[in-house]
Symmetry: C2
Subunit: 153 residues, 2 copies
């Protein structure tokens, strides 16, 4: 199909992005009301990713994983380091680069944060159809992948 989209298709796109933006807004707001020490979702997400995937990665790799500009990641990592949740060390394999390592405190912080968020999650879990959410995740991931790929052309 080489045809352009109809006005209704555009409207659907806008509606989709609008819902996504509002949910992102709401979840951010909920998270930051719970996280201690003025930590942000960005902080939590990076910690979470370092634990779930692995640490020792470079700031740029993390920036790409989260699809944020590297200047934003610099700032996020500075916040995590200031709070003692990560340690940044020079990358022995590349003098331009650094590596991000979790600290014990960072590991604990993530566990504590999940504990503080669990009440909200439990409550939401009772009101939402979790199966539906689980089903949506891969579709969102696919949409994300396509948008990201399209952007980097």
């Amino acid at each position: 199909m080489d045809q352009d989209l109809s006005p209704d298709d555009y409207a659907k796109f806008f509606a989709f992005f609008n819902e996504v933006a509002i949910i992102a807004q709401l979840s951010r707001s909920i998270f930051e009301a719970r996280l201690p020490d003025g930590a942000t979702v960005a902080h939590f997400s990076v910690l979470n990713n370092l634990i779930r995937v692995k640490d020792g990665r470079t700031p740029l790799e993390l920036a790409r994983a989260f699809q944020v500009p590297k200047t934003t990641m610099t700032n996020t990592l500075a916040g995590l380091e200031k709070r003692g949740l990560i340690a940044m060390r020079p990358n022995s394999k590349d003098g331009r680069s650094k590596q991000v390592w979790l600290t014990d405190k960072g590991y604990e912080f993530r566990g504590m944060a999940i504990g503080l968020l669990s009440r909200d999650m439990d409550r939401l879990g009772k009101k939402l159809d979790l199966e539906k959410i689980k089903a949506i995740i891969p579709e969102l991931a696919e949409i994300r992948r396509v948008i990201d790929e399209d952007r980097n052309i």
Copy 2:
């Protein structure tokens, strides 16, 4: 079911919010690369909403529609007014309040913005399954509704 969530359920929630946040980020980035005059997604979204729903509403009503704090809406509206895209007038029915009206320029701006964005949408429309996106929108809207409702308890 009065049972709490499993660790895997929490992980799914985080994954869901993470995907949503990244898509929000990417779409914001795409939009703002196209919008003229340093306009933001927030500006576009408000204009779009004023046209699609109706204008003459108050700042607080708009803040609620977008689930942002009223101080944020104040700032967004100030930006739109500075650019001549809306006009704010006192609300004759309530001396504390104001009403937001579209200007001709605001109407044109939205049309122009859609034109500038259409290339990206067309390209995405060829790579994404539009039917799937259309199917997801109501589910996201429902999730949004539940989260919002839960938050206001």
